[in-house]
Symmetry: C2
Subunit: 186 residues, 2 copies
């Protein structure tokens, strides 16, 4: 009996990514990207950041729409809670980067994904930012990401998807390894 195999569709155009990889081997200057945000203080600890333009493939690029993001501190810090905290934005970036990677790697490996869910938990001792104890760091002590994935694959294959996503994740790298940041006043 002939069986019909439905092609795997996770919605990731892997061929385009493989083509880009080949093209950038010969044109490393096109691989130099610059991502940008602008931020305006509103009042208190509330600010609004806007994302629209970036640079890549040798020219100015832009998103389809401009998006703005409020950040604030919660009420327990005597603030207005008009947005999530700055440190929570890191968790959004980390979870979304790893998730996109899992879908892309699965597409490349011919594994159909049905669902990917994750929870991210970041531990922080706020005695750091409050200046209580100089031995306590300001940022996260550690972050744990736990995935629950439903896919046409064994537990081992699913774990391998996650491991490969982690290996190629821009945000995972930026958080786990030092990034040079310079801050200036114009």
């Amino acid at each position: 009996m002939a069986t019909t195999k439905t092609p795997v569709d996770n919605g990731v155009n892997v061929q385009a990514l493989l083509d880009a990889r080949e093209a950038l081997k010969k044109a490393p200057e096109a691989a130099q990207f610059q991502w940008r945000a602008t931020c305006k203080w509103v009042y208190g600890t509330h600010s609004r950041s806007t994302i629209m333009r970036f640079f890549g493939l040798g020219q100015e690029q832009q998103h389809k729409t401009e998006t703005s993001f409020s950040a604030d501190h919660p009420e327990i810090f005597a603030s207005e809670d008009k947005g999530i905290t700055p440190v929570e934005y890191l968790l959004v970036g980390l979870a979304s980067c790893l998730t996109a990677g899992v879908a892309a790697v699965a597409q490349n490996r011919g594994i159909q994904i049905r669902s990917i869910e994750s929870k991210v938990e970041g531990k922080m001792d706020i005695r750091g930012i409050l200046g209580v104890d100089s031995d306590v760091r300001n940022g996260y002590d550690d972050i744990k990401v736990t995935f629950t994935i439903d896919a046409d694959a064994s537990k081992e294959d699913i774990e391998a998807l996650v491991a490969q996503s982690q290996k190629r994740s821009a945000v995972y790298d930026a958080i786990t390894n030092p990034v040079n940041v310079t801050v200036e006043v114009a």
Copy 2:
């Protein structure tokens, strides 16, 4: 002639933060926070992350409202651009953290802020994430933040505000120094 001095009002309740600092000196366990996000894959490289609950001051806490954030890749990566990229969320976190810090430090130093604007630029060589060259890192090579601040203070005092904000910034620390991240499949 008597002059009336308007009290500095940047909207930051510095007294509450100083009180918290004193209280946490005696109760370090209350300073242990856990920030959380949950993320669901939508399709392709598009995901949606949700932020609502966190833990701190010894108990479960929550934001006033639940907020969701879409992340995706742009059209030049053959994606749908249904949200900003995961790496751009790091820039939002960095800019908003430093901005809140400037307003808070200025309040503590009696400096009236009129405006704080910043632009953030993060350089990334995408040959890393595409696996073109294993010597190229996945994350940012470097990030530059440039502030433009209008305040009742000298250039030197404004630069000192920014330096102190940087010194106490949770996101600046998390990006410039290594954070331990563990990724698991449930």
